[in-house]
Subunit: 135 residues, 4 copies
């Protein structure tokens, strides 16, 4: 299964599902056009309430990550994402980086240390992205 949930996390379950699906589609683990499990299927599989999954799916649909085709089910979108929210996201990214940069300094890491960590994650991402991708 390409999706794992931690019900103990502070992160809401529905948000974990959203994040998981976004990650899977961005990585290519879920190719564009793939059918997702139904709301109730995924709910039983993850042992959560179906409303929780429904909320996640609705948010994903709003973000154009998935789409519902009436009577057939839910599928990952082909043209993933739209640039409309790009600037919005960039601001959020900047705020987040700034925040973690401060935290890093408070545990004795330099800006360079911080950058190394980021690069590390990006590289790990790049390599994992290859796996299972169609392209």
């Amino acid at each position: 299964m390409w999706l794992h949930i931690n019900p103990r996390s502070v992160e809401p379950i529905y948000a974990q599902i959203v994040q998981g699906v976004k990650t899977a589609t961005a990585k290519g683990v879920l190719a564009p056009g793939t059918k997702l499990p139904s709301v109730r299927e995924l709910a039983t599989e993850l042992a959560v309430n179906h409303n929780t999954v429904a909320k996640a799916y609705q948010e994903l649909e709003r973000d154009k990550v998935i789409e519902v085709i009436r009577g057939r089910g839910t599928f990952t979108c082909l043209g993933q994402g739209h640039a409309a929210r790009r600037e919005e996201r960039l601001q959020e990214i900047r705020a987040s980086v700034h925040k973690w940069l401060v935290e890093a300094h408070h545990v004795g890491l330099t800006s360079d240390d911080f950058l190394s960590v980021v690069k590390e994650v990006v590289e790990e991402w790049a390599s994992s992205k290859g796996v299972g991708e169609v392209e």
Copy 2:
């Protein structure tokens, strides 16, 4: 004032205070050993509930960013932070970077674009850090 709060933000106010103090100390705007306003002073100044400020101060004390000296007041710490929570923070940073990397991809940004944004923020930070710093 070196601290600004936005009650409209999704970010909890107490977290904004924590973040603000950490930023100010990391930048050197608040030199080590500086006296901070009392809980009630800061509360009236920011027009927030004093419990909110108290919660922020508690968290800052736990993170060894500030220390309370009974009868004298609250002061920024000398030794900035401790390495104890370093690994914990690193994991959080990795999780955050991963998350935003996914979001970046979903608005059509490449990993390189993402890295550029991060570098940009880090550089901006480095330059602003110089200002007002004692070191």
Copy 3:
């Protein structure tokens, strides 16, 4: 083919069929008395469930847009519509206009802008109506 269905739309498929047939008859693309494809024919052609087409045909028959002659097939009606439901429809139109007027204001359009858009659509309709019309 004078009828196109989009299974991705939020609009139910049966409603799209109803709307499509109504548009075609109103425009004169389907002259009064024209034979429509059978439920099963249309179903296979549109690649939808035949229950869906049947539901659409039932609604169209209720609205006196088409009539079923047993053993012969389904035909578009001669007298286009009846005034019985007129007041009902007028109320629905008013509600819809009101709703979209509000939405228009919320994206910064004035009432005049709104009216212009409506006129534009009406004119476009008038011109397209001429094509293929018998009258």
Copy 4:
């Protein structure tokens, strides 16, 4: 009360709330910055579940019609709406007008009759908008 709900309507209750608040703000019945009743207050007043109200408020917040100020409550936004979704809305308006134009013809109304009805609603709106408005 500026908000009335019909639990028997086909329209979902949460959508009626959304529509009601949007109408009230667009008309000026709710001036920008006005405090809305809390989720639970409104829920008891309308005799619906608080989750239903919460869903409506969340949608209104996503549409930037209202905003939540932490611990103080929910308020109508000052700068109402953003032009970002304007083209999207215009397309929806066009589709809706087209649809109702067809329906109008099927009950024997001409395009001019239709336009009259629209104008009527717009004028009624304009006059009611004056009432209670600050401007």
